[in-house]
Symmetry: C2
Subunit: 195 residues, 2 copies
């Protein structure tokens, strides 16, 4: 049952059986139906989630009530509102399942226990956070240097399966364009493939 999350961890650190058992005792399993929120703005952000199956969308609602898709999170990755999780503050972000999903969750309290009891998890989360940082930085560079069409192509490469579960509106807000413009980009892409 726990194979996948332990495989994810074993990419960066090795756990013996006792450490793996201890970790497994600190996490909880949860099924999340499509469209359910595992976090909403203003809520306490107490959990870091590992996505075993499914996909999530992290979004922000701005003062004009527009939903800005901050990121998509796919199977075998971790998701939370990191700023609020770290600082024990109410969430700024929403996290919504965009597919039938299964997750493991570790609470902030249990994570501290884990880091204290099995300090090598510091290394794991250090590496994980460094990769998360470089991905966000890369996206910032793309937003500042690529055209909308190039950003859409890069999105398709990074998230080939998300187009099957996310709406046009959600993808458009991730790319910083209108759904109408995304529709034009998609049609041009299809036409080019046919011709």
């Amino acid at each position: 049952m726990y194979t996948s999350i332990l495989q994810n961890i074993s990419k960066h650190i090795s756990l013996d059986k006792e450490e793996a058992d201890y970790f497994m005792g600190l996490i909880r399993f949860k099924e999340v139906p499509r469209k359910a929120l595992i976090l909403r703005e203003g809520q306490a952000c107490n959990y870091l989630s590992y996505i075993l199956l499914g996909a999530f969308r992290v979004y922000y609602v701005d003062e004009h009530l527009r939903e800005i898709t901050v990121k998509f999170a796919i199977a075998d990755s971790w998701v939370t509102d990191m700023h609020c999780f770290l600082n024990d503050k109410p969430a700024n972000l929403y996290i919504e399942a965009i597919d039938e999903s299964c997750i493991y969750q570790v609470s902030a309290t249990n994570l501290e226990k884990l880091l204290h009891h099995v300090p090598k998890f510091e290394r794991f989360f250090r590496i994980l956070s460094q990769y998360a940082y470089t991905r966000e930085q890369f996206r910032n560079i793309e937003n500042l240097s690529l055209s909308a069409e190039e950003r859409y192509n890069s999105f398709l490469e990074t998230y080939p399966r998300i187009t099957q579960v996310a709406t046009q509106k959600q993808i458009a807000s991730y790319l910083g364009i209108t759904p109408e413009f995304l529709s034009v980009l998609r049609k041009e892409k299809t036409l080019r493939r046919i011709s």
Copy 2:
């Protein structure tokens, strides 16, 4: 001499004298004149730098040879091309001193030694990376949800002193606008302050 970098570290972990001495033996001090590059595209990215004094600009040169300012790094913060530093790849980014600067540098090899010998540094760099990640994510949200004027105001709040050392062109490319448009924003701001 090493007070400031040790204070930076003591924000997140406590070192005893032996650990502090060991760390100090692994870093090197460097003066960096204004406009000098500590990293350029294509170079091996072997160092993580702590800025003791001064300021740096991290930038990317796109295929049209435009300089995109990825971030500004100020005193008491850390800077590198993280993607390349982590993966031992040639740098994608340039890092330029935009003021007379002093830095401490730790090489990738020495960092691994440090993490091995004093594992609590895993915690330090885990926390540092998580904050770096949330800052990049926050900037992505701002880029997608705020107007150019709002982004400029947020920039002034985050980097109040950078306007004294960065050029209009460098700040404009950080905000994703033209220098001409930044000039308009600045003039409007001044007029509003006067009236």
